[in-house]
């Protein structure tokens, strides 16, 4: 019967799917080392490659800094690199990890480390041991330094004293130090971005505050009710901008802040500014970095009204695009020379207002990865269209959370 045959075929296909997936995964798993080692020339080249490969594998954990966890994950590869019987990584207080034999020397090593950790110079010393057939008799200490400060030490243990080991340990320690310096750099970059967010927060421009208050003042006598409303808008907006907790907010909250902001701007410019809003309601709960759309709107307002007396139009669109939300902010103002814009985004120049754009771009890249930066289409006199793609879910990103550490 054709029905049964086709039914069987379909069932077979369904059953085969998991196996195909498993095979794919297995293939990828096993293919990697085979491909990387095959086709290499002389034994020396091979050995060089092997060493470099081991070093590369040991690097990623250390990029997160020197902790028990990262030390544990890298120690094995470091020992392979040095080819010793035992290797340990320490910080100032204790042994973080002991890889290999002779772990009973932990306490002794820590005692003898005080000198090298203080001076920052490497040394080799004989280990005292009661066990007759203890495999490690000598320890080579190489300090790990970051910016000339000692963070810890790498200790390699061997049965005999050897000048080669001393040199090698020194080199490996220097290499580890470089990784730790990179970790330090990562850390300071995150801190810098945090500081930038704080700076942007503090930065709702003094002009804006001054202008808003002046506008409100102008209404106080003629239209006290309007003045009161504007003051409330102002209060809501500043409250949002100055809030302390969390680095993220939802699109709905950000749009409300933009609403307050626009109310104040409109009080000043009246009919000259019109705004269209198109929102797909399902993207409103999307989480995004705090104050990352308001600067774009502020930018659009500035560009739209700059140097012209007639009307200006801004449109804000947020639509659903699968696992992402697509936010587009468009104005019909003076636009910008793309070359100037490129310089602003790469941080070379920062004309008035430019810091907002590059800061938002930077933060989006930091949080969502480099393919989620701002996309800006503009030319002189042709207005400006800014597109931001916000993933609906990103690990570690939620309204009350801090910036995820990479």
């Amino acid at each position: 019967m054709s029905g049964e045959v086709s039914g069987f075929l379909a069932g077979f296909l369904v059953a085969a799917l998991p196996f195909l997936a498993a095979g794919f995964w297995l293939g990828r798993r096993t293919a990697r080392p085979g491909r990387s080692l095959g086709g290499l020339g002389t034994p020396v080249e091979h050995a060089t490659f092997q060493t470099l490969h081991t070093a590369t594998l040991a690097a990623p954990p250390l990029r997160a800094g020197l902790t028990e966890e990262t030390a544990r994950r890298s120690a094995k590869r470091l020992r392979t690199l040095l080819g010793t019987d035992a290797l340990c990584l320490t910080d100032h207080e204790s042994v973080l990890v002991w890889e290999g034999v002779g772990e009973h020397h932990r306490a002794e090593i820590m005692e003898r480390l005080a000198g090298p950790l203080e001076s920052g110079r490497g040394e080799a010393f004989r280990l005292t041991c009661d066990i007759l057939d203890c495999p490690v008799r000598w320890a080579v200490v190489a300090p790990l330094t970051v910016d000339d400060r000692v963070h810890g030490a790498l200790v390699a243990c061997a049965p005999l004293e050897s000048a080669v080991l001393v040199r090698a340990a020194g080199e490996v320690a220097r290499w580890v130090s470089v990784q730790l310096e990179l970790a330090d750099l990562d850390h300071s970059r995150t801190r810098l971005i945090e500081a930038e967010i704080k700076a942007l927060r503090a930065q709702i421009s003094p002009h804006f505050i001054f202008n808003s208050l002046a506008v409100i003042a102008s209404f106080v006598r003629t239209d006290p009710e309007r003045a009161r409303e504007l003051l409330l808008e102002f209060a809501d907006f500043t409250r949002y901008s100055f809030r302390r907790h969390g680095d993220f907010t939802t699109l709905a909250d950000e749009l409300h802040a933009i609403d307050h902001y626009l109310a104040l701007v409109r009080a000043r410019f009246g009919d000259r500014l019109s705004v269209t809003l198109q929102i797909a309601p399902e993207v409103l709960p999307v989480t995004l970095p705090f104050l990352c759309l308001q600067p774009l709107v502020e930018n659009a307002v500035k560009h739209g009204l700059e140097g012209r007396l007639d009307k200006s139009h801004i449109s804000i669109t947020a639509q659903d695009a699968g696992a992402e939300a697509l936010v587009v902010i468009e104005d019909d103002g003076v636009g910008m020379d793309p070359e100037v814009l490129r310089r602003i985004l790469s941080g070379e120049t920062s004309p008035s207002g430019g810091i907002g754009l590059s800061n938002v771009d930077e933060r989006l890249r930091q949080v969502y990865g480099d393919d989620h930066g701002l996309v800006i289409e503009t030319a002189v006199g042709a207005g400006m269209k800014i597109t931001a793609r916000l993933p609906k879910y990103q690990p570690g990103v939620h309204p009350d959370g801090g910036i995820p550490r990479a």
Binding site: M1, G3, E4, S6, G7, F8, L9, A10, G11, F12, L13, V14, A15, L17, P18, A21, L232, A235, D236, R239, Y240, R243, H245, G246, T249, T250, A252, D253, L255, H256, A257, D259, L262, A263, S274, V275, T276, L277, Q278, I279, A280, P281, E282, L284, P285, T287, T317, Q319, D320, A321, G322, A323, D371, K392, Y393, P395, V397, H398, P399, D400
Partner: protein, 581 residues
């Protein structure tokens, strides 16, 4: 059926869906309604959207077909489909929303911080999505076939093309309004004809023997057998035959068939007289839609019922298109309220298909024979009312049926395509969502052309079983158990979901097992769900060192109301108002 009315009705539904999808954004031109435009989706709108997406071909056509063929036992289907949301409400809704996850793989990653578990969850989302899409396309094929005599595959191709085109072209810019619209359309399309049908039934003297065994013909009826089938007779039957029975040709001859099984060749016309019992078609030779698993159910009725209950109760929470909709709720409490409204909306809807099923038993019992029982909902208006009224009501029902295929299929396609582009296809700059969409639709379409045998509601039941055995353990343990580990979750999903998937594959392949073993494969939930839970718990307990370090803070975030975690924004006005008083 009159094509002059049904084809425009179906076309209208398609056009309306595309239109609402493309232009259903909230737009504000004046500044005063800025607030309205940026207001989050309320529980009622979102609940209508969830219901619209959820009520699929299985609900719209399948349940009535099953009730027609199998009687009131099949009411467990609507009960299960509804009660799934009760479980969702109690255990999952609010924490899932608070996790910030958009899809199930997102949830796996948010809870367990493991890329591997994420990929595995993605694979199961694709599997469940495809299994669920398959009956939608089959249902569309059946509907169009019954209404216009188009070939079986055409309806599926139309639905697949419309959905893939709108989704891939970015036409579903605001799916919430589309789905909410579809819910009300579906409800109307079943409710209005049902009222008229009930009136017609009243006018007919309100016969009450709907569930008498066996069903019998109420008037003389000619039945044309479209596919060769085996008739099983429990008592002798006298029938007028024009065609071939048991290898002998008859021409408008009245013959007596003794007790036993008789082979009726395709193209044969059987004329039954009033009061004749409706014979039952045998499984295996019957290419129809509503009977293939029936035997298993007859042999193990209690087991099958429990299997069904477990699958539908626990499977709802793992349906990819349902989970995605909860993201639209602004916070956990709203997600819970939404679920309560969903329970009401779906409960109201599910009162209707059984009415059609019962009326179908009275007025179209021969559908049991020809294997088109799923078409009962479509045929009844014509059969009971007839004339222009019947045609118009039939067109309304047909439109509603297409709304059911379109809404569920588009929701599923979006969910599956999202997972495919994010986790399976290689990312290249702007991710190729379109390729993912086409892929998400092409596989079930191919399968629906290849497989033609499963009843719609049963096929959906299998998707539920896989979901219940893989995602239910992941969600429930992930939310309520702090010792869950990534290896445990992966092993549990593989063991439970994988076993259910294999059982499903065996069932769909027509595995010739009989008796208890066949029932075990046809209704896997009863053993595969506990298997999934048990594996997840045991493997997690065996790998205590792999508990993610952040578990306590993650669980705190899942369970604490948002106001406790973060402050309420935009409260300045309120505060100042208070202060003024």
């Amino acid at each position: 059926m009159n094509e002059n009315y049904t084809v425009p009705a179906v076309a209208l539904v398609v056009v309306a869906t595309v239109f609402v999808g493309a232009f259903g954004l909230r737009i504000s031109r004046t500044t005063s309604d800025f607030y309205v435009a940026s207001r989050t989706v309320g529980p009622r709108l979102n609940a209508a959207a969830i219901s619209g997406e959820y009520l699929s071909a299985a609900s719209f056509l399948g349940i009535a077909g099953l009730v027609l063929v199998q009687g009131p036992d099949m009411l467990w289907y609507p009960v299960g489909y509804t009660a799934g949301y009760l479980v969702l409400l109690l255990f999952v809704a609010a924490p899932l929303r608070r996790s910030g996850a958009y899809t199930l793989p997102d949830f796996a990653e948010a809870r367990l911080a493991s890329k591997t578990v994420r990929r595995l969850a993605g694979a199961f989302v694709v599997g469940v999505g495809w299994l669920y899409l398959l009956p939608q396309l089959q249902g569309a094929g059946l509907t169009l076939n019954v209404l216009t005599d188009a070939p079986q595959w055409l309806g599926g191709v139309i639905v697949a093309a419309v959905v893939a085109a709108t989704v891939a072209a970015g036409g579903m810019r605001s799916i919430t309004f589309v789905q909410a619209f579809q819910y009300w359309l579906k409800l109307t399309a079943l409710l209005v004809p049902a009222l008229f049908l009930v009136l017609a039934w009243q006018g007919d003297g309100a016969p009450r023997h709907a569930f008498d065994e066996p069903a019998s013909f109420r008037e003389q009826r000619v039945v044309r057998v479209d596919a060769t089938l085996d008739l099983k007779l429990a008592e002798p039957l006298t029938v007028t035959v024009s065609g071939t029975i048991d290898g002998r040709r008859h021409d408008e001859k009245r013959i007596d068939l003794p007790v036993g099984t008789h082979r009726v060749e395709r193209g044969t016309r059987l004329t039954f007289t009033e009061g004749d019992p409706v014979p039952v078609a045998d499984r295996g030779s019957n290419g129809g839609m509503s009977t293939s698993l029936a035997e298993g159910r007859e042999e193990r009725p209690l087991y099958a019922t429990y299997g069904l209950i477990l699958a539908t109760f626990l499977g709802t929470m793992g349906l990819p298109h349902v989970v995605v909709r909860f993201y639209t709720s602004p916070h956990g409490v709203a997600a819970r309220r939404t679920t309560v409204v969903v329970l009401g909306l779906i409960g109201a809807f599910y009162l209707l298909p059984p009415v059609y099923g019962a009326l179908g038993r009275l007025y179209a019992p021969e559908l049991t024979l020809t294997g088109d029982a799923d078409a009962a909902v479509l045929l009844l208006p014509d059969r009971m009312i007839g004339g222009l009224g019947g045609d118009l009501l039939g067109a309304l029902v047909a439109g509603g049926a297409f709304a059911a295929f379109l809404s569920t299929a588009s929701g599923l396609t979006l969910a599956v395509a999202g997972v495919l582009t994010q986790d399976v296809l290689p990312a290249r700059g702007v991710r190729h969502f379109r390729l993912g969409t086409v892929l998400a639709m092409a596989v079930p379409l191919a399968a629906s052309v290849l497989v033609g045998g499963l009843p719609v509601a049963d096929a959906v039941g299998l998707a539920f079983a896989v979901s219940a055995s893989s995602f239910c353990p992941l969600l429930v343990l992930g939310i309520w158990w702090r010792r869950l580990t990534p290896p445990g979750a992966a092993a549990g999903m593989l063991a439970g979901g994988g076993a259910a998937l294999l059982a499903v594959a065996a069932t769909m392949a027509g595995y010739p097992g009989t008796g208890a073993f066949h029932a075990l494969l046809a209704w896997p939930a009863l053993w595969s769900v506990p298997l999934g839970f048990l594996t997840m718990v045991l493997v997690s307990l065996a790998t205590p060192s792999r508990v993610p370090a952040e578990t306590p803070s993650i669980l705190a975030r899942f369970h604490l109301p948002e106001e406790l975690v973060g402050g309420q924004p935009g409260a300045a006005s309120k505060e100042i108002e208070l202060w003024r008083r």
